[in-house]
């Protein structure tokens, strides 16, 4: 092989990441079934805390899938930035515009004289 570094087996790390992802998924499902009152009924930025917990745990899982399974941790930083920064920037932009706009449309519906629930 012409690779500069010798490939060592990563098996133990792979299993560790699998266990980690499984635990996070179990926590998510448990929270989804129990729906703890103090998380579900309190809001932050017009979304309840439970949903924030779900989203943060999801991003945590996504990080491990990309870094460990897709082996992003072994790539050059130029490749890392080219892929990750592009996606993060565009997604944040898109989500911000669409959700703010959707909330505006919701307010319009709510405060208008149109009756829909009949």
């Amino acid at each position: 092989m012409s690779h500069a570094h010798e490939h060592v087996s990563n098996t133990s790390r792979i299993w560790k990441v699998f266990i980690l992802l499984s635990i996070v998924t179990i926590i998510e499902v448990a929270l989804g079934i129990v729906r703890p009152e103090f998380l579900f009924m309190n809001n932050f930025l017009s979304m309840n805390l439970l949903n924030w917990v779900f989203i943060i745990l999801t991003l945590y899982k996504a990080y491990y899938i990309v870094w460990a399974f897709m082996h992003m941790e072994g790539e050059k930083s130029s490749l890392r930035w080219a892929v990750v920064a592009t996606v993060i920037f565009l997604v944040l932009y898109l989500v911000f515009i669409l959700l703010v706009e959707a909330d505006y449309v919701y307010e319009v519906f709510k405060n208008s004289t149109i009756k829909w629930n009949f």
């Binding site: 092989m1 990563n10 699998f18 992802l21 989804g32 490749l79 592009t86 565009l90 997604v91 709510k110």
Partner: protein, 342 residues
Amino acid sequence: MGATVTTANTNENTWGGGNEPMGASYGKLMMWFFIVSDALTFSGFLAAYGFSRFKFIDNWPIADEVFTHFPFMHGVDAPMYYVALMTFILIFSSVTMVLAVDAGHQMKQKKVAFYMLLTIVGGLIFVGSQAWEWKNFIKGEYGAIETKGGSIIQFVDKNGKRVKLEDVAVVLPEAREQHKKSNGLWFVGEPSLPSYSVAEVQAGFKAHPELLVRTEKIYRDTKEDRENKSLQPGLNKNKHREVLNREASETMVANAHLVVEGANLERNEYGSKLFADFFFFITGFHGFHVFSGVVINIIIYFNVLLGTYEKRKSYEMVEKVGLYWHFVDLVWVFVFTFFYLV
């Protein structure tokens, strides 16, 4: 080293080709950029879903009420368990994939083949599970009524428990047959009829004075909600759907327009029609990705068996399909969150 594996060659200048400024071969880099564009496509879909959901935040279906089935457990209310199982299957197939890549780095042909096979099996189980999930969603469970205003109403008893249409409706002597090409005008047809007509459900509702109507709207426990006279006292809980009192229920039922059983692209017994549209579209698009991933994996699996990569002295192709396969898993993690959890 063959056509597919290029290596950094310091003798060449940067723009002369054969140089790898990002330290990844051409094929791997292009797989990464394909993944970036595909990730943006999925983000667009999920953001559109978020848009519709925020727009109709007061009457969006609650996933816990929609996906409640588990195989071989009929009538048991098991929200989330089945989709959690599907998530595990997909994460596990991701693990076997990365183990195959790992074995490829060590040039262990047999091990690569074995792990590829496990990955393919995992992918097929996942696609099958999704088909089952679709089947349940399309079939529906309790059935509902669509009013002339286009909103969905469901039936509950005096304790707020859901009641199926078959327990509400009475049979009236007005049986109507489905208009098919074989029994009517040969150039006209109609979609299959619901099990009960609107009149049968309305008559049944009259015959059961204890039944109440549950609307799409979510009760928020605001001052306005508490003062709402048309809501049934005692049955309305914060962040649950509103239950109307008998009088308001009768008005709603009198306004009935269609009997809705299950969900499709036009009607949805669980509530907002957009929910069903997005569910079919996004999980369908993801399922199609899983399916193509399985097909590509099978091709690479046979190449492994034939020794193609032994001759090439590199298992980089396994790494590339691995990237795609992990990406499919990554998308599922987000779909799972936004359709089932949030």
